[in-house]
């Protein structure tokens, strides 16, 4: 009697020159929660996509309940009892919850009978697993946490015995995450097998029975969770002990350069995302803003840099107040000495089909040194680009190469070089090392520290708490659009974790647990 719900044997998958999965073996026991952990790009998602029929393995076997199974598409995966909750939800936003749940499992050509059945089945599932939803609510009107419940219900409705959850807590508030874990625990008790993909060690320790570690496309180890610890897993994950502690001296903060006062920002749908935020950044210090993704950091950053307008509040830059409710724009902010390394270099920081040199002036293209009258000064732009290429060790050193052909780390260096070389008074940096290789991370961190030591004011926004703690001199924590506290970076991780979960010191009540 085989006891494995899933067994993978020697799975290989390549995308062109990238070997995303190398000889992967994996055994997942029935009725357990099995974590798969690894850094971004370790190959976790590719592996799960193969299991769900999104990709086809180049070689290897998949065994479900001990039987060799070919999963040629999602349909086959569903038929084999596999359900997947994707990182980005696969929901039709203007459909009701019920419509979303029956999509693909309508139970006949006509909807009438299917809908009636689904309604009662949904009621049963809701009761059994504590997944309470209003079947007639429209998806776009319900909070993220509920949308995720709908995703789980979708898999259960299709009779899934094996659930794959891909980074399920990335978009959740801590309270919602806790609720999710309770649900998963309940599902496990009912005999379901759960695979949890994450890069958060804490989640692994908290909820899984077994954990497998992936690194650079390989499965490096599988452990029983209770027999391992965070340190061991972290080491397995990165391969060698990367000391994230960046060498830096104490900060020497001077005058206030950037002052944000009572800022309120709504997103495109009119939902308040930044609520009454105030803080200051002084010359010669790095202020970090920590928080779970989606708690208003992006909107805050885009508002400060002039990309989006605020509903109310103001910004004072170098002592000059700036109306941010309509008048400001990114060019003006740059002219006033602000530089901005955006979170999303692919869509915002760079124009990927442009030549490197063209991207090296994005946003500062109207400056006199790059122009002759209405014309661009191509010669000077190229010369300038070459200087940055050399100084920032951008590879390959070819300013006419299409930007899309550079690696992630080098693309980020193009952005960093452009922004730092404008010699700003204030540097706003979002997720500076997302999707960047280790060598480039060190380089970028060093540059940021150098900027600080040169007396610049730096606002660092990152969802990587480690990065914030090792770079920042002061850390603000953002939760549900508000700054919920300030701590020195030495504060222990757990205390930050509580703050990021919306729990202030001594205060154990959860704030706004249902916030989407």
């Amino acid at each position: 009697m085989n006891n494995f719900a899933i067994e993978l044997q020697k799975i290989n998958k390549s995308f062109g020159p990238v070997h995303a999965n190398k000889d992967i073996d994996l055994k997942v026991s029935k009725g357990t929660i099995h974590g798969i952990i690894g850094e971004n790009g370790a190959g976790k998602s590719t592996l799960m996509s193969i299991l769900y029929g999104f990709y086809h393995a180049d070689s290897g076997n998949i065994l479900i309940d001990g039987n060799k199974t070919t999963i040629k598409d999602s349909n086959a995966a569903i038929a084999a009892g596999i359900g997947m909750v994707h990182q980005h939800f696969m929901l039709v936003e203007n459909f009701s919850i019920l419509e979303n749940i029956i999509l693909g499992a309508e139970g006949g050509q006509l909807l009438n009978s299917g809908i009636a059945n689904a309604r009662s089945e949904l009621k049963r599932l809701s009761d059994e697993y504590g997944l309470d939803v209003d079947p007639d609510a429209i998806i776009e009107d319900v909070p993220i946490g509920v949308q995720q419940r709908v995703e789980i219900l979708k898999t259960l409705y299709r009779g899934a015995d094996i659930l794959i959850l891909d980074e399920p807590t990335g978009v959740l508030t801590p309270a919602e995450a806790d609720q999710l874990f309770e649900i998963l625990e309940l599902l496990k008790q009912q005999g379901k097998t759960i695979i949890l993909i994450t890069h958060k060690l804490r989640e692994i320790m908290a909820i899984t029975d077994d954990v497998s570690v992936m690194r650079r496309g390989e499965m490096v180890a599988t452990r029983t969770t209770k027999d391992t610890n965070v340190e061991e897993l972290a080491e397995l994950m990165v391969g060698r002990r990367v000391l994230l502690q960046v060498e830096k001296g104490p900060a020497d903060p001077k005058d206030v350069v950037l002052k944000v006062e009572n800022l309120n920002v709504r997103d495109g749908r009119g939902v308040p995302m930044v609520k009454d935020v105030s803080f200051e950044v002084r010359a010669g210090e790095i202020v970090g803003i920590a928080g779970v993704a989606g708690n208003g950091q992006s909107e805050l950053m885009e508002c400060i840099t002039g990309i989006e307008h605020a509903e109310s509040g103001r910004i004072v830059l170098n002592g000059e107040p700036i109306g941010v409710t309509g008048g400001s724009n990114p060019s003006e902010m740059r002219d006033r000495g602000m530089a901005h390394v955006p979170e999303d270099r692919h869509h915002m920081g760079l124009v990927l089909p442009f030549e490197e040199a063209e991207n090296s002036i994005l946003g500062i293209h109207q400056r006199p040194e790059y122009n002759k009258g209405i014309f661009l000064d191509i010669e000077n732009i190229r010369k300038d680009a070459n200087e940055k290429i050399e100084k920032y060790d951008i590879r390959p050193p070819n300013n006419r190469l299409k930007t899309a052909n550079f690696s992630g780390g080098n693309q980020q260096k193009i952005v960093i070089a452009r922004e730092i070389e404008t010699d700003p008074e204030v540097l706003i940096v979002g997720q500076p090392t997302r999707g960047v290789d280790v060598g480039a991370i060190e380089f970028i961190h060093r540059r940021i520290i150098e900027m600080r030591d040169a007396g610049k004011a730096i606002l660092l926004i990152s969802v990587e708490l480690d990065e914030i703690r090792s770079l920042a001199d002061r850390v603000l924590v953002m939760f549900d659009g508000k700054i919920v506290g300030e701590r020195p970076p030495e504060t222990e991780e757990g205390a930050f974790g509580l703050l990021m979960a919306g729990i202030e010191d001594g205060d154990t009540t959860v704030q706004n647990g249902e916030a989407g």
Partner: protein
């Protein structure tokens, strides 16, 4: 992460691929000729002979090409900004008002070389204004520019019928057209220029607006690749978010680009009105605006590609006329089919043959396969 398109040498990307696509379009056109009970080979021979066989043919070819260069540039510059301007037809039509007004006002008082610049400005302004409304609606209210420009083509057609019948038509005449222009409203032919090379263009209405079209092509190249405005246009065309980040005023760039686009389309009106008919007639655009779509796609939105593409369509128009003399079954409508096929294969299906080409090149270059630069992460 998986690079969908392997890298190909530049000459394959910009040279071979379009040529293959165009060849397929022509092969299928040949099939239609064959379906119409005529010999495709004979038709091709007639086409070449009609277009290049004698001086007048060349003159006509370039006369038609003149219009297509303008409309091709018009479509292309909008595409660089990520806008699909299907309205060049209507903008060219409305541009005619500017030409007609300039000529009607000054044709008997000023010499052509003074009326010409006024007409150029007039054509450009009217074309630009007609493009302004869809541009404004796209920029400020998010109305889909493809749909609005289609609608504006029809509105322009109705408006022009009204104007020609009720406003411009001289009393006591029947045809919906303006009066004929005096000498000041007639552009000089280029027969003398081609005469230098021993080509006698005869009665062909090839005129000085051909030179203007070439200048416009150069100016468009300058604008798109050498000016700050062009940089902003291309930034917005590739990535609206990056444009926003860069502090580029999106609405401004959309509106300016569309007005340049409309202006270029409007200038097309100079060629038939001032260069040929010497009056504004009903439907003088005759589909040139739509040909511009094919020309832009075929020329890959680059002036250096648009000029030969426009000349190719000039060949089709002129040679097509020749074919229809000899082959009663093959009327000028054949060109419309070819135009459609070119748009299909050079536009919507532009990457259909790509995997094959990539495969061939991969086989050819197996030895040096390791120099590919990894793009994903």
């Amino acid at each position: 992460m998986a690079a969908p398109y392997a890298k190909l040498p530049k000459w394959v990307d910009y040279g071979l691929m379009p040529v293959i696509n165009i060849l397929v379009a022509f092969l299928i056109s040949g099939l239609v000729v064959w379906l119409a009970d005529e010999s495709p080979l004979k038709a091709a021979g007639l086409l070449i002979k009609g277009a290049f066989g004698y001086g007048e043919g060349i003159g006509y070819t370039l006369f038609y090409a003149t219009s297509f260069i303008f409309t091709g540039l018009s479509v292309a510059i909008a595409i660089h900004c990520g806008l699909f301007n299907i309205g060049s037809e209507g903008q060219a039509y409305i541009g005619g008002i500017g030409v007609a007004l300039a000529c009607l006002a000054f044709d008997s008082t000023l010499p052509w070389f003074l009326v010409f610049p006024i007409a150029i400005v007039g054509a450009a302004i009217f074309g630009a204004l007609w493009a302004f409304i869809p541009a404004y609606l796209q920029a400020k209210r998010g109305s889909h520019i493809v749909i609005t420009t289609i609608m504006f083509n029809f509105i322009a057609a109705s408006l022009m019928i009204y104007l020609l019948v009720d406003v411009f038509k001289p009393d006591g005449t029947m045809a919906p057209q303006t009066r004929g222009f005096a000498e000041g409203g007639q552009l000089p032919r280029l027969d003398w220029l081609f005469g230098i090379f021993g080509i006698r263009t005869g009665a062909a209405p090839l005129n000085i607006s051909f030179i203007l079209a070439l200048v416009a092509a150069f100016v468009v190249w300058l604008i798109v690749w050498r000016t700050r405005l062009g940089y902003e246009i291309r930034t917005r065309g590739f990535s609206p978010t990056a444009a926003k980040y860069a502090g580029i005023n999106e609405a401004r760039v959309i509106i300016i680009t569309m007005m340049i686009s409309g202006g270029l389309a409007g200038m097309m009106a100079l060629n038939p009105i001032m260069g040929d008919q010497h009056q504004m007639q009903l439907d003088f655009v005759a589909g040139a605006g739509f040909v511009g779509i094919a020309v832009a796609l075929m020329g890959r939105n680059h002036p250096a590609g648009i000029i030969p593409a426009a000349i190719l369509f000039g060949v089709l128009y002129q040679g097509g006329a020749e074919i229809s003399f000899e082959m009663p079954n093959i009327s000028r409508d054949m060109i419309v089919i070819i135009q459609g096929l070119v748009i299909l294969f050079a536009g919507a299906l532009e990457n259909m043959f790509r995997p094959f080409i990539v495969m061939i090149f991969a086989n050819l270059q197996k030895s040096s396969s390791s120099n590919a630069i990894e793009a994903g992460e």
